[in-house]
């Protein structure tokens, strides 16, 4: 699997994502945001961080980077695109995913492990999970409060495009399990075609027992597996 990790000015999870892709056998390459051309890549990863310092609005400036035109073309052609944290924000700003990430309802940066429920195990990002499985994954963001208009939310739910939700240890979508106020406890969604996933939690930080969790590994192996079988 040839994977492009896009680095924007201010990205700071690009290295972590690069290492995660390598860990599952991916052939990862950094692409600077001013470079062009994603031909030959099997998947594109948009890392977390603070592209352009989150000035103006998280992801609002990065989406105008030259390479984003290529990312959009790549996604529209059905190529798998994963955006994590700031990457999710950029995907929303670029229109590849609906909705927006608002300031956390605590108005503070939130950094801790959260529990996620896998809502669907039949996407190319979650095939190696079981539906209903509970994952332990770190979050670290100030603007992760997912919002969309009522119509969009209904569509996301009706089409089963919510892939991860914040839950408590019992697997329930309670308010106290929701770290940022996201509507419907949404932690990650896909586009209609299912080839673009945006999520606030960091699966690339849950790849080793030493660091606290291995629950992120299956997301990356799922991508590798889907690409091999497609």
């Amino acid at each position: 699997m040839k994977v492009a990790v896009i680095t924007f000015p201010g990205s700071n999870c690009d290295y972590d994502l690069y290492k995660a892709a390598q860990q599952v056998g991916g052939d990862a390459t950094f692409m600077w945001h001013r470079e062009r051309g994603l031909d030959g890549f099997d998947a594109v990863l948009l890392p977390g961080g603070f592209s352009y310092g989150d000035y103006l609005r998280a992801g609002a400036i990065a989406r105008m980077s030259p390479i984003m035109e290529d990312v959009i073309t790549f996604a529209n052609a059905g190529g798998p695109v994963l955006g994590i944290c700031n990457g999710f924000q950029i995907l929303c700003e670029s229109g590849l995913l609906p909705g927006a990430l608002m300031h956390n309802n605590s108005l503070k940066f939130e950094s801790k492990d959260v529990l996620l429920r896998v809502e669907r195990a039949d996407t190319l990002f979650t095939a190696d999970y079981d539906a209903g499985q509970i994952l332990r994954i770190p979050i670290a963001h100030g603007e992760g409060n997912y919002e969309a208009d009522e119509e969009t939310l209904e569509a996301l739910e009706a089409e089963g495009r919510v892939v991860f939700r914040y839950v408590n240890a019992a697997g329930e979508t309670s308010q106290d399990a929701n770290p940022n106020g996201s509507w419907h406890n949404i932690a990650g969604i896909t586009n209609e075609a299912g080839n673009v996933l945006g999520m606030m939690p960091h699966p690339e930080r849950a790849m080793e027992e030493l660091l606290g969790s291995t629950d992120g590994v299956a997301l990356f192996t799922s991508m590798v597996g889907s690409l091999q079988t497609s």
């Binding site: 000015p9 603070f50 670290a140 930080r205 080793e208 030493l210 660091l211």
Partner: protein, 762 residues
Amino acid sequence: MTNPTAMQVPPREGDPEITDEVVADHGLSPDEYERVQRIMGRDPTFTELGVFSAMWSEHCGYKNSKRLLRLLPTKAPWVIQGPGENAGVIDVGDGYALAFKIESHNHPSAVEPYQGAATGVGGILRDIFTMGARPVAVLDSLRFGDLDSGRVRYLFGGVVSGVGDYGNCVGIPNVGGEVQFDRGYEGNPIVNAMCLGLMKHEDLITASATGTGSPLMAVGARTGRDGIHGATFASEELSEDSDESSRPQVQVGDPFTEKLLLEASLELIASGAISGIQDMGAAGITSSASEMAGRGGSGIELEMTDVPVREEGMTPYEILLSESQERMLVVAHPGREDEVRAILEKWELEAEVIGQVTDDGKFRILENGNVVADIPALPLTEGCPTYEREGIESEEIIALREMDLSEHLIPEGDLSKSFLLLLASPNVASKQWIYHQYDTTVRTATAVRPGGDSGVIRIRGTSRGVAATTDCNGRFVYLEPRTGAMAAVAEAARNLVCVGALPTAITNNLNFGNPLKAHIYYQLREAVLGMRDACGAFETPVTGGNVSLFNETDGKAIYPTPVIGMVGVIDDVSKITRHAFRNVGDDIVLLGTNTGEFGGSEYLYVTADLVAGQPPSVDLDGERALQQAVLKMNHEEVLNSAHDCSEGGLASALAECALGSGESPLGVDVELDEDLRPVVSLFGESQGRILVSCGQEHTDTVLAIAARFDVPAAKIGSVTDGASGFSMKVRDATVSTSMSDVADAYFGAIPGIMDAPSGSEA
């Protein structure tokens, strides 16, 4: 080299005349000004006066601390770079070196907590990456007044956001630190930030200007009028009106630019196009340029009109003394300026040639080709007068230390309420409210996050890790400075061995009041002596640090607070020990002895509003043996947990072990047999004690290892399930409570104060 004399420089048009008052405003005494005149062989120009003022401020010149700092041990075979550079560097094995340093931003944080703290983090990151190391972890050591003050809550909240936002944005995990709340810090919060950076040995670069004719380049952000005279400001006492009038001396941080500067600097160093690089930190271009010249034994010449500026009409004086953030001074190899520019351009930053290295030993400043300052460089950087003053202990503090505490030792019977009260004190309570605002896991290397005894960063591609902690109990230092400083070093070392790290070296941050006062100078000297003894005993040399004096508001000094930032090395990260109990049925073993002193304890502060009494003594040989014993237990893999006993004493330490991160608390059943008053057994903060747990099959081994190192050890109880609650018995007293009450007290305290709807007035 003979000292060159200054050339004649006519006064610059528009500059103020130098009067006694102007000299005094620049923080120079009449004697010091005479010394300037002697060095110059004439009166300095206004620009030159500004340069001397900054370089001879306490912040840059260490004039009241240098002679004492020379007493500290600084050498060991593993020390690659000792004091004097941007950061200390030690060998950590497998070809890796660790750069680390701590720095204060107390004065700016007292005035503008968010920016003050943020720029403190920015500065310490730059000190690390200018050594060629990639920053891998940040720690923050904070002190505030009591949280019942709205002003203190504002400072605390602002500082935490500032530390968090800056590090989060740059993408450096915060792995630990400490915070203390005490009225002793009411007007002067302490904000110390520490950074660790990793590099391969061959990537080390230093900040010296060598090679006559080599171009000097200003890199990164443009120079503006912010922070002018910050270094001088940081070397004065604050007064009631400081927070309004001093705001222009506080810089504004831009972590996004810092991130770009970080990447660009590491790329520059890797390119080989430069021979030296230094942060323009305190005293800006002045200190970076003159220090690089001083270290290189060279001279430098800078043209002010070539410095990229943010605003029109800046005078040489302003440009030289600006503390605008996110700027670097780089010495390029001649002819490779374009390579430097190209790297900076890639990272969307600027690099401009602003001068060159000379061989005449002068710090020379030009404006449109006209000389406006011409100062012998070495006397400027090394000739700062240093003072050794008379130190006398304050009678008031002697009386406090000798106070009879017996009336406070009476309580016995059911002490559960005192226990919960203590756990809910912000000094003991969980600091999750703080570190949940810090990114702790970015860079995917954090093996032990904040909340443990030490933070641990693993070194990818090896089995190794580095651990770090910051420690100091200012109350102990206040009551008896030498003992208190030893305790700070000892606690730091205990925190390292608890995770399985060998204590290796320290960086220190000496936060004190006004050293011109005899009782403050006494504290400073005694604390340095205590540190010297402890660092010597533990073989943890001092590789650098920071001195922050004049931490006083309206004549009231902070507690003397020599913060110790200690680093340690872990050979095998798979053997890391954590502080939380793991299994029901494990034995709990207490290593070390309660020596009975009760002075300066959190219990006295919480129950009697008292900071008094004899603080715990420190037995350096006993501490060293304890460290070795715990490391041996770690290597033998017989421990399931290890945790230092500090604020709140044994009872609080047990609660922390039982609670862990709070997700699935276990219970505690402990019975103590000590010949001490119950409150002292439960809540005394005697040094030299570590609480470990182990599977019952390993208890004999644990006790045997302790015996081999002559460390007192006793099985005091066992880990029970959470439903069994928290139970301690000691002679005529008990503590008995549910774990949910323990958890509520411990985890609820700080959020209860800071997130309460009416609790945040700003």
